[in-house]
Symmetry: C2
Subunit: 86 residues, 2 copies
């Protein structure tokens, strides 16, 4: 499946959350990660994230089972593209 | 359709971009907006955003034609929920 994960967490935990998400997904922009991931891996990722988070934090997970149902467009800089090819 | 829009823009333009996106979508978290929107309105929104942006800015648009193809989960605080109900 394809997932988009966005986070809004306390400053002290931003680094840890980013590092964890990077293990499973691609960073796209600010506090947004995305990528293809298997269900089991996503469950593992979320379980590990829960250990880092406190009750003031917030993580949003958008799942699209079939990536064909998603269209993605970019206006301006495609930051994830830069990251991969530079 | 359902759209998720994330932005990463220069500090001077954050306010304008937020204000514009609020006219069309719901704020969810940090630099993320989402919502149901008609194709024509989305085109109008993006066209208006382009007038605000400079070449260093970046806007990502994820479109899911049929909202049934999307599953959304929240870990922790559901900020958009708070915003609506408090």
């Amino acid at each position: 499946m394809f997932v988009i994960i966005t986070y809004d967490v306390g400053e002290k935990r931003v680094g840890k959350v980013c590092k964890k998400l990077r293990e499973y997904l691609d960073w796209t922009q600010n506090s947004v990660f995305e990528g293809q991931i298997q269900k089991g891996k996503l469950t593992k990722c979320l379980s590990e994230l829960k250990k880092i988070l406190t009750e003031e934090d917030s993580i949003y997970i958008y799942r699209i089972e079939n990536p064909n149902h998603l269209r993605k467009d970019v206006i301006g800089q495609n930051r994830s593209f830069d990251r991969i090819f530079l």
